[in-house]
């Protein structure tokens, strides 16, 4: 399941729901991305996430389908927020449930790597110097590429 929303989400409820009633699930892996403020000379007071409505949902559904094609998952979930967030706020949750621990862990890692480079979101940070667009990281491209090579 995928969701793109302004609102925060409840981790406990989302993860409990993922495997609820399915006794073949042996493991649930998850990753939560948070708004970070590393302090330093340019503290971040807020992060604004812009996205491409329609295309975002489509790409997230594709990414999720790809994970389900590669690993035997019982359930999967991507929740991605947009709008104005503050340091410590949750941005994204990816979660995977599988009979097998390795499948849940690998698929969760794949989902977060892939959506970093493939989902149409853009971040701008509010700093004392003004708005600053977050630049794409070459490490993120490398992380996503790894999964392409392993295909």
């Amino acid at each position: 399941m995928i969701r793109v929303q302004r609102e925060d989400f409840d981790i406990g409820r989302e993860l409990d729901r993922l495997a609820a009633g399915d006794h073949s699930v042996g493991g649930v892996a998850s990753f939560i991305g948070l708004v970070r403020d590393m302090g330093g000379p340019e503290p971040v007071s807020a992060l604004t996430l812009e996205h491409y409505p329609g295309m975002t949902e489509k790409k997230l559904a594709e990414i999720e389908a790809e994970a389900n094609r590669r690993w035997p998952l019982s359930a999967s979930l991507i929740v991605h927020r947009y709008g104005r967030l503050e340091p410590g706020d949750r941005i994204v949750l990816v979660a995977t449930a599988s009979p097998h621990r390795e499948a849940a862990l690998a698929a969760c890692h794949f989902l977060i790597d892939w959506l970093k480079t493939d989902a149409p979101f853009w971040k701008s940070e509010a700093t004392p110097e003004g708005e600053r667009w977050v630049a794409a990281r070459t490490e993120d491209d490398a992380a996503a590429r790894r999964w392409r090579e392993e295909q």
Binding site: H51, V92, K116, P120, W122, K123, S124, A136
Partner: protein
């Protein structure tokens, strides 16, 4: 044709979307980017480093040689930074 701009491209161009009749002589993504840059002002500034710009046609990422028609939704944006 519907044009959409995101992130700093939107800010530099000054609006998020516009309707445009396919300009004469424009057949693909590369041609459209050239034509937009030729408008000058915010367009020229936004598209100065055109190599970093990404394009989606009808919500699919495409290369510079992808054909463009008058009924397309064309989105132009910097590399994504989600997650």
């Amino acid at each position: 044709m519907k044009l959409l701009y995101f992130a700093w491209l939107r800010v530099r161009i000054g609006h998020a979307e516009e309707d445009l009749a396919l300009p004469a002589g424009v057949h693909d993504v590369a041609g459209l980017l050239d034509w937009l840059r030729g408008r000058g002002g915010g367009y020229a500034e936004a598209l100065r480093d055109v190599a970093v710009v990404r394009v989606a046609v009808n919500q699919e990422y495409v290369g510079r040689d992808h054909p463009i028609s008058d009924r397309d939704e064309v989105a132009i944006f910097p590399p994504m930074t989600g997650g």
